[in-house]
Symmetry: D3
Subunit: 261 residues, 6 copies
């Protein structure tokens, strides 16, 4: 249940499960709270993804969260703010074992993401694993093998290029962004499970099938059981901000006249 | 739904509701997250209590949370780490409109709590309302009238002195600490609603009745509706850490072998 | 004087005033102090612009300042460090209601700025309004309409392209950078009001007239009354660092031998 | 203009000036901004006092401000939150060269303040000068000689005990708290210069004369020139929060309808 | 090498080793760096003691360091700033498994330290293990048994009362403060290993023998092997600030003329 | 030993030494500790380089470190996370006196680095020296002359373009990245002094000779004396993380069975 820290470096438990074909289940952190990250970590889900793109996650916060997660066997992922080698390098050096890269629209952008995630010859990551030495370790070849690189398909342009993105060498899988994809297709920003429009569902299925063909995992947020049934191999079961918000909404306020109502 | 900021200072909306006999409902923050404080504030409960005693709440965190709450009509309370004039002064200067003082065991300790909460002649608070000037304002007499001073009865010693504590001039009410009271009486640390031992329930009822006699509000955590039925006028409906923990416990992890099981 | 928070989202009060033709007056924050931001906010100027480019404003600081401003009716703007979609998205998601984009030199760069500020179809902003949901709300079309996108013209290249920049669809106005424009033209880095060289004044007037032709607001820092008279519709009346510096300079030090003199 | 850092430790420039009979002039920091502290430091006043009692000054903030001031010849003082040996020790270890102790009401409390400021045999300060080693150095006797211990007389009780407080060995001077003294005497919380009531002025003069008799410096906030004329040897010419507030109040807002008016 | 986190709570590995008679070796953190704490933790010494008294350790810093240490089997201790129930409670709630209490001068002060470290009936600790629930767990009796309470003997008064302090029920051991003891006895502030004065050595030996008689562990800083030979059961082998300082002193600066020389 | 702060701005002491042909010796900070930065600064090496690329250095941390260094005559450099004008501008505005730009692969990239470091006409830096005004000052021409721009050659592509990079106007010198260069050439990530492969040594020598030809300084990490002998004019003698790590490795743990062994 806990990872040993050895000179040889850890293996990426999440990647191993994905490669074995297990459906992995995780949680995401957008509130910028290292304490929530620690609580999530000790719940021993397969992964936690720290959201630097839309979450309140500064570099300091990201580092504190990665430290908090390190006490568990949960694999830490970071969704970087953008497809940028500097940000990807900082997340990996700080101990992320996988990266989720938003808004990847074509093969060239997918290649940039891959290059930022891995050292030569697979990529161009720069050397300096300040905290990563405690995790995946210091052997470039081993680290290249273990790091997980997931790219997001979430625009109409990406949809048109889905096969070239999915098949880019070094891309380990796709993380679906249904809300952005929806907006890009002219729909409202909904999660997969909220989607009912047939055209939007067809777009998502097209992406999923491209992953099946290329033998890549596909992930998104949703209910683990139903998402697994729908063919997703990676499911983010909950986001901290939503857990808080929906829990608050259920509280009995007695006779209060609520805000905005 | 929002408070205006005027030179004359705000009124303490929570105190006004309590004095009108309304049952007030609030939330508490122990995770040290200003974003959760803001989410809670916008839900427009009657109060938020920031827990400096057992929460992960540094002085910086407390200030950020008080800023976050200021956009709403929710009244901010701080449970200070101990019955200490310096800490009480810092919380009030930073904008808390009420203080919850833990471990008050007799009238002398209650008087210290009161003195720290109010300026001369009701107390000995020191002048310097760096952020409080934006809230309850700068008129010492008005501020003295508006600040809420709640003391916690949560030991067997306090139980023995319940009437002298409750009747201390300037004590606006009692906040019950059932877990500490339970430990002090030889029981496990349970919330009121978890308590089944008749002796412990009798002790709590004794405190409640002392409040009724002295016309002071009594508060604790629990379900608002059932706590109101049990005679509590102030109910903390949820704590952030517990919301997260219980929400995580309900998530379907598919076939995961869980930590510790 | 205070904004209500409703599911429907706020309107951008600053943009509304600008569209009504009012001359708006604001303050800017470079010191990285959320307390100064709160003090400024409660002074109820039309806007506060948080300077991420030249100010000491980390992401954490920006978020705290946006929380501080939310208690007032003042509209929060962020000048991002550079014309970058990731930074613009983070500022908007954190609750900025308008963006000032520095160093926009041509129409292509102006289009990038616009695209980062708005969701499809006006742009390519990514969905995830973690704090913005408390402000402009969650309806993409409404948010697109309310967000203010201001671009800075502050180089000789931009001056040459002034009309194409100003007329770029989605650009709501121009924020003039006289110091950078001055340097770029071979002059010292001066504010508008310090400028006396006719060639530099002519350059600025050329930009202002382009705004008049395109019916876009033009803003910069200076004295509100004289800047309004000079045809500026948006005036940043003071920056925190300068207020402190000039106030200190006026203090009587008795007979002190000063540093450097 | 800058202090050298030598193994032998610095001398306390402020104390030396006071002992030479110079009227020293300083600034105070309540906003919790290390950048303002640095700006103040480079203005090379005689001292900066960091306000931990009423300012927004966490331990982290205090340390950052002490680091900022160290580049100048300005002497850093800390007003601790209360007369507490732990807080006084932390401020001195972090590099404060003098302490202002609030609410000292009698000789016993003055002795506690002195004991916390100095090592045996003059006091009971605990050894561990983590940053102070860069400043006053590591020789206990030299540090005891250089540290400045100022206590505040600001209550009617202290007024009654003024001579015993002032004459307490190790008390280097008095810092007057006119606002608290005023409240304690039944007056409004005013600074010395705002005070017009003869009884309040007589109380202050009584304190000042006790200092004259005991050959101790007396300080407070006010205009340096007039305070010197009134017999004060130490004058805090401005507080950051007030500089900002009064500067904002002077800004022309054009035709704005102001908050609260 | 790593602790499992179970509902039943961890055992305190350090206390177990001490009770088995092992000489335990640790490191101390005064620089306030969570990254150094993590590096130290992964070196798998027996304990890390976080210094809140003389180190640059705010509450936020302490929490981050406790999180960093949790990934290892190293036992985290906190030296609190003073013998204060509020500070001791905050450190234990945040996950410290043992407390070092400075400046304990007599049995009454030792009893206060013990009472703050343990729940009723052994003490009066207040219930609220916000992070401690991840460590020693939530059973009050088990936690009381596992928490380590060490008190410091470091004044001449404490020396006179050494037996009554050492024999106070609930005191698990003594942590020697040679520098403060030295100052209090009229000597310079030296570590044990630097001490050569026979009278000072005799005082230390007197304390050590009192521990032997009472079957309590005695700890201090020094070289593990020689300190074990001298009869110490707990040795802090290094402090981060000293490691850095002595490492820097050894660097070849070529021909530089050094500061202060 | 300490720099005076004058309106005219400081001179860059490091650049002056380099131009005089002195071999300069520095230290680097990757742990994100302002206290270590201050300790390093007071040791009065020629420079400190703050590592934003691989160190745990947020923007807030960088600013605090720059403040800490300002009390000494040590010149502060920042290695930015990437060759990005926004990051370079923020570091310079915050007070860095030189920039180390990683991964510069050709003349075009070198020109971008130069342009970001200097104002027009040498570059396109934007005006706003919020803290730099305390250092190199406010005269654009003087600042342009004083700022040090070092670019890193650390890939096979850069090696192929070594002369065009080195000869780019405005590039003051080269900072060698042996680990990245090694990886890029198919070797392990080693420092210069660890390198034994003749081909790798030849590559480094080729870079060094290009610097000699172009009269540019070349720097890297290593032992100052041997690196000077090897022809390096700038030597980073130690990194904080390595000092801690190697110091810990030397500590006697008595009979401990170590982690991983
Ligand atoms: Mg998306
Ligand atoms: Mg309690
Ligand atoms: Mg500009
Ligand atoms: Mg006072
Ligand atoms: Mg000691
Ligand atoms: Mg490199």
């Amino acid at each position: 249940m806990v990872q040993t820290v050895s000179p040889a470096g850890n293996i990426n438990l999440l990647k191993a499960k994905i490669l074995r074909g297990e459906t992995v289940v995780g949680l995401s952190c957008a509130l910028g709270s290292a304490q929530i990250a620690e609580e999530f970590a000790l719940a021993e889900f397969d992964y936690i993804y720290i959201d630097q793109q839309h979450g309140l996650t500064s570099q300091d916060t990201m580092i504190e969260m990665l430290r908090a997660i390190a006490r568990s066997s949960t694999t830490p992922l970071v969704r970087v703010a953008q497809n940028n080698a500097g940000l990807i390098g900082q997340a990996l050096d700080a101990g992320a074992e996988g990266i989720i890269v938003p808004m990847v629209n074509n093969a060239a952008e997918a290649q940039l993401a891959v290059a930022a995630c891995r050292y030569f010859p697979q990529g161009r990551r720069s050397w300096g694993p300040i905290r990563a030495k405690y995790g995946l370790g210091t052997d470039p070849a081993a680290v290249n093998r273990e790091v997980l690189c997931l790219v997001m398909i979430e625009t109409s342009e990406a949809l048109a290029n889905v096969d070239e993105i999915v098949q880019t060498p070094g891309v380990d899988g796709i993380y679906l962004g249904p809300a952005d994809l929806g907006i890009s297709l002219g729909f409202p920003p909904l999660a997969f499970e909220q989607t009912t429009d047939e055209r939007q569902l067809a777009a998502i299925e097209r992406i999923r099938l491209a992953c099946v063909r290329a033998d890549r995992v596909i992930g998104t947020s949703g209910d683990p059981r139903s998402m697994r049934a729908a063919g997703f191999g990676m499911v983010t079961a909950a986001m901290d901000a939503m857990l808080i918000r929906s829990a608050v909404a259920k509280i009995d306020r007695l006779d209060a006249v609520l805000a905005g109502s």
